[in-house]
Amino acid sequence: MNTLFWRTVKGAIGVFTAFGFLFLIGPLFVIVPLSFNAEPYFTFRPEMLMLDPEAFSLRWYENLFNDEEWHRALFNSFFIGICATILATTLGTLAAISLNQSNFPARRTVMALLISPMVTPIVIVGVSVFFFYSQPFIGLAQTYLGIILSHAMLGAPFVVITVTATLAGFNQTLMHAASSLGANAWTRFRRVQLPLISPGVITGGLFAFATSFDEVVVVLFMGGLEQRTLPRQMWSGIREEINPTILAVATLLIIFAVLVLFTVEWLRARTAKQLQPQ
């Protein structure tokens, strides 16, 4: 067959692929300009398309910054997110270091257990912790602690995965060297291993934070009015009274996501460089 035919096929696939990228990223770009809409609509009005400055405004952002409920939600998201991240990162890093040892017993089963929160349908997690924590002798429903524990459990697998991946490139002879120089186990960990795997630990922590920061089902089922987080507040906004303030929040969250993404990629590049043989 002739080359023209194959060029056409390639071109068609190229166009299809381009539409794929548009499908994936386009929706996010639609939200950003609409959050500056001067009118309480979720659509572009002709004035906006003509770039008439009158059609744009910051009123939804003003709304957002003046609203007590959103303040509380923001505080809750960060408070719960940071607590859950510290817990998940500490437990996850320790577990990953331990799983990295070649003589770890039943490694595969333990790994499957530790990763399982990631694939358990979130509704099942929500329903289970709701029933379990509501029992009178536990009493963790509608408390910060209950939500933090659940979020830490959901975030820990990400830490285990990223730290395990970083450790795969970690040179164990460094630990033997430190040991022969008289360092005890804690010093070896603190001064040799941790600095080298820290990009993996931080990446895992960011994943854990993002997991908590975006989690809505556990908060929905188990949290009270007092524990409303950003996604929980958005959920109500979308379901009950749809309001462009949601789009302003969404825009800020997109910016946040971009910042997290670049941090993670920067850390990844750093790890790759660090682990290269000198």
Binding site: L24, L113, I238
Partner: protein, 392 residues
């Protein structure tokens, strides 16, 4: 010492996951088959009914015991829960049970049995007694039966639900269908995208990677919101269609709050989970392979089907299974953009938890869903390996 220390550092997390996930799930499984409300509220009645023949009305003594215990239950505020449990077995019995202790003291019938029948004729029928006896069983299969559209009759026999109430099997099938469709769509759209990322020039590849990773890191709620904005009747896509005259202004398409909304939004949300594993496999496929195939006379199509694609299969399997596992338990997106026609099994679980308060049924549906996911998870571990799961 070495072996002990190696595993001991993992113990805190193991214990943490057991306490915060496994134990709660275990209590969920228990809830799906266990209900001691009635057995605990009416212990003497429960015991007496075990000896009851079931063919004649119970003895006057049993009526007396029941009266006593119902009055006690009313005082401890357990009566409502007892009545709704029995009502699930025999609908209509809720009011019969709730009003009995209130009125019992005021009747002047010669014995307890006649007093009960005076309060409500149903107490003279066997049905409510069968229902009551069944409700005193602490272990029950009724939730699981109901989860697959069967019901346990008051006399203990099993029947199919009336056609109008057969909802769950349909819903499981719908959930399965949506998961297969979403996985297929993600594969179809994601495969060429991963290919482009893996084989573009380094500058373009970097841009494409960023384009995939931004949505990956963006809040699920943000992405779902954006689909509402795009797909609603007065939304961006309909505006574009109207502008180009594809649809009439008074005949705008309904693309959200139905199955279309669920499918489109879920595909976009899960697409990165297909692309990233594919990409990581594709970057490791040597370019020389396809070149070798071409030099041996294969046309581009043959080179792709017979050489490139088989080499990318591990990525297809990893991405496909991951997307499938995630979509089968999907909740948020269908709840927000699915309307009533685009709801999946997770949404019904949430409904029974929050609205109908039929917790036993919510638990049974969860257990069935969970078993499905566990099977898939084991398959994933066998064929792909959990420790090879990569992120971003």
């Amino acid at each position: 010492m070495g072996k002990l220390k190696a595993s001991s550092l993992a113990l805190p997390l193991i214990a943490f996951v057991v306490v915060t996930l496994l134990v709660p799930i275990f209590s969920l499984v228990r809830l799906s088959v266990y209900d001691s409300t009635v057995a605990e509220a009416l212990p003497k009645t429960a015991e007496a009914l075990q000896a009851w023949s079931g063919t004649d009305l119970p003895s006057i003594a049993i009526y007396e015991t029941l009266a006593e215990e119902l009055i006690a239950a009313q005082e401890t505020r357990e009566l409502g829960r007892v009545a709704s449990r029995v009502n699930r077995i025999l609908s209509g019995s809720r009011s019969t049970i709730s009003k009995t202790p209130r009125r019992f003291a005021r009747t002047d019938a010669p014995d307890a049995r006649q007093a009960f029948i005076e309060i409500d004729e149903d107490w003279g029928e066997l049905a409510i007694w069968h229902a009551l006896r069944q409700a005193t069983d602490t272990f029950t299969s009724r939730n699981f039966l109901q989860a697959v559209d069967f019901r346990l009759m008051p006399d203990g026999s099993i029947e199919r639900m009336p056609e109008s109430q057969q909802v769950y099997v349909t819903l499981f099938i719908r959930t399965l269908g949506v998961s297969i469709a979403v996985t297929a769509l993600c594969f179809l759209i994601g495969y060429p995208m991963a290919y482009a990322m893996a084989h573009a020039s380094s500058g373009l590849a970097l841009i494409l990677q960023v384009l995939v990773l931004i949505p990956f890191w963006t809040s699920l709620l943000v992405r779902t919101t954006s689909w509402i904005v795009i797909l609603q009747q007065q939304g961006v896509l309909n505006d574009i269609f109207v502008f180009f005259g594809i649809v009439a202004d008074d005949n705008r398409l309904t693309m959200v709050h139905n199955m279309t909304g669920t499918l489109v939004a879920m595909t976009q949300v899960l697409l990165p989970f297909m692309i990233l594993p594919l990409y990581s496999v594709m970057t490791n496929i040597p370019r020389d392979l396809t070149k070798a195939a071409s030099s041996l006379g294969a046309n581009p199509f043959q080179a792709f089907v017979r050489v490139y694609f088989p080499n990318s299969l591990p990525g297809v399997a990893a991405g496909g299974l991951l997307v499938f596992i995630l979509s089968i338990g999907y909740y948020i997106t269908p709840a927000l953009v699915g309307g009533s026609k685009g709801q999946l099994i997770s949404n019904l679980i949430a409904y029974h938890l929050q609205t109908s308060l039929n917790w036993g049924l919510a638990a049974a549906l969860s257990v069935i869903l969970l078993v499905g996911v566990i099977v898939l998870y084991i398959v994933y571990d066998r064929f792909i390996g959990i420790d090879r799961m990569k992120l971003g």
